[in-house]
């Protein structure tokens, strides 16, 4: 009888323990984006100076789109890296910032003080953030020459990821152009 109870107990608890073990290895805050491998939603937004940026017109060169805000501490942490990246790949990769629920004046103050890595675009109504399925800043989307999202970083982008994905995008020849 005791053996039977033990077997039933093990039969119930073992699968639960395995499930817990698997689940604990995955950060619940990180949700894989269904957009990776799909065409990037096209947007047309104004930057802080009123210049219009149309994503479709940037086709042919890789684009890094970063959703950020001044109230977001990881955004500050990754800021110097993005500044450095935009300098290193100037003329090769477009860097675009999309303001995520923040005051454009604060963004202007921040970039004036700490440097800018690309235009900061005003996303009225947060519709672009919704189209990209942004959970919260910072999130970075890597878009290849053909306008396909090839990777996404949640939280502050790491130097390894930036370097790795940028080099991969630059090495890839444009397939669908012309």
């Amino acid at each position: 009888m005791n053996r039977k109870v033990l077997l039933v107990g093990l039969g119930i608890s073992l699968p639960l323990l395995v499930l817990l073990g698997v689940a604990f290895r995955h950060d619940p805050q990180i949700v894989d984006s269904p957009l990776v491998g799909k065409p990037a939603p096209n947007f047309r937004l104004a930057d802080l100076d009123g210049n219009i940026v149309d994503l479709a017109e940037l086709r042919g060169r890789p684009v890094i789109v970063n959703f950020w805000a001044t109230y977001c501490v990881p955004c500050w942490a990754e800021h110097p890296l993005l500044v450095e990246g935009s300098r290193r790949w100037q003329g090769e990769i477009h860097f675009l910032g999309v303001i995520f629920q923040d005051d454009p004046d604060l963004i202007a103050q921040f970039t004036a003080e700490y440097g800018r890595w690309g235009p900061s675009l005003i996303d009225e109504g947060g519709r672009v953030a919704i189209a990209y399925g942004v959970y919260g800043p910072p999130e970075t989307f890597f878009i290849d020459r053909d306008g396909v999202i090839v990777d996404k970083a949640i939280g502050a982008v790491s130097p390894d990821q930036l370097l790795g994905v940028a080099n991969r995008m630059l090495a890839q020849p444009a397939a669908a152009t012309g």
Binding site: V73, Q101, D105, G125, R127, I130
Partner: protein, 182 residues
């Protein structure tokens, strides 16, 4: 080590600068909230129509639109909250998503199309009620399976107890018969 210290220093300086600027201005920072319908600047925004396809319903307005928005909003999880729908959350993201749902429903997109649009963008995580397919079936089937298994165990146990009670009664009766016969 030096880099880490420098980074920490930068963060501390930025925190101080942010708090100082917040103290200087009495007004809270302006947050880009979703505009009311039709307030989007013409020509700006994001293209979604080709991803959504043609609207399969009829354009809603007035109270019908309010009801439909409220219904859709209860299906969608607020991405910035813990297990709260966008109907129940006051977060700016939830407001933006409600505004997007309103805009789509007013253009004639159906509830399924709107929910499908959010799912395409955020993944299935954005649905408060997971779809009954694949591994999700465990979530749907587990409660019924546990109740069924529990019921089965109780029934088996009762049957076993009844059987052992019958057996002891039989033994007792046989014993009584034997004793009365002698």
């Amino acid at each position: 080590m030096r880099r880490a210290t420098a980074l920490l220093g930068l963060l501390a300086a930025l925190t101080l600068a942010a708090s100082a600027s917040a103290q200087e201005t009495d007004t809270p920072p302006r947050v880009a909230l979703p505009p009311a319908e039709g307030e989007f600047r013409p020509g700006l925004g994001v293209e979604t129509s080709h991803e959504l396809g043609d609207p399969l319903g009829h354009p809603l307005s007035g109270e019908e639109l309010d009801r439909a928005v409220a219904e859709v909003a209860t299906d969608i999880r607020c991405p910035k909250c813990q297990a709260l729908s966008i109907a129940d959350s006051g977060a700016a993201s939830a407001q933006a998503m409600r505004a997007e749902a309103r805009s789509l429903l007013s253009q004639g997109y159906t509830r399924e199309q709107v929910v499908g649009y959010f799912e395409q963008r955020y993944g299935e995580f954005v649905l408060l009620e997971p779809r009954a397919r694949g591994l999700n079936l465990i979530v749907w089937a587990a409660p019924a399976a546990i109740v069924l298994l529990g019921g089965l165990l109780v029934a088996l146990r009762l049957r076993q107890r009844q059987r052992s009670a019958d057996e002891s009664l039989d033994t007792y009766l046989r014993q009584v018969e034997q004793e009365t016969a002698t």
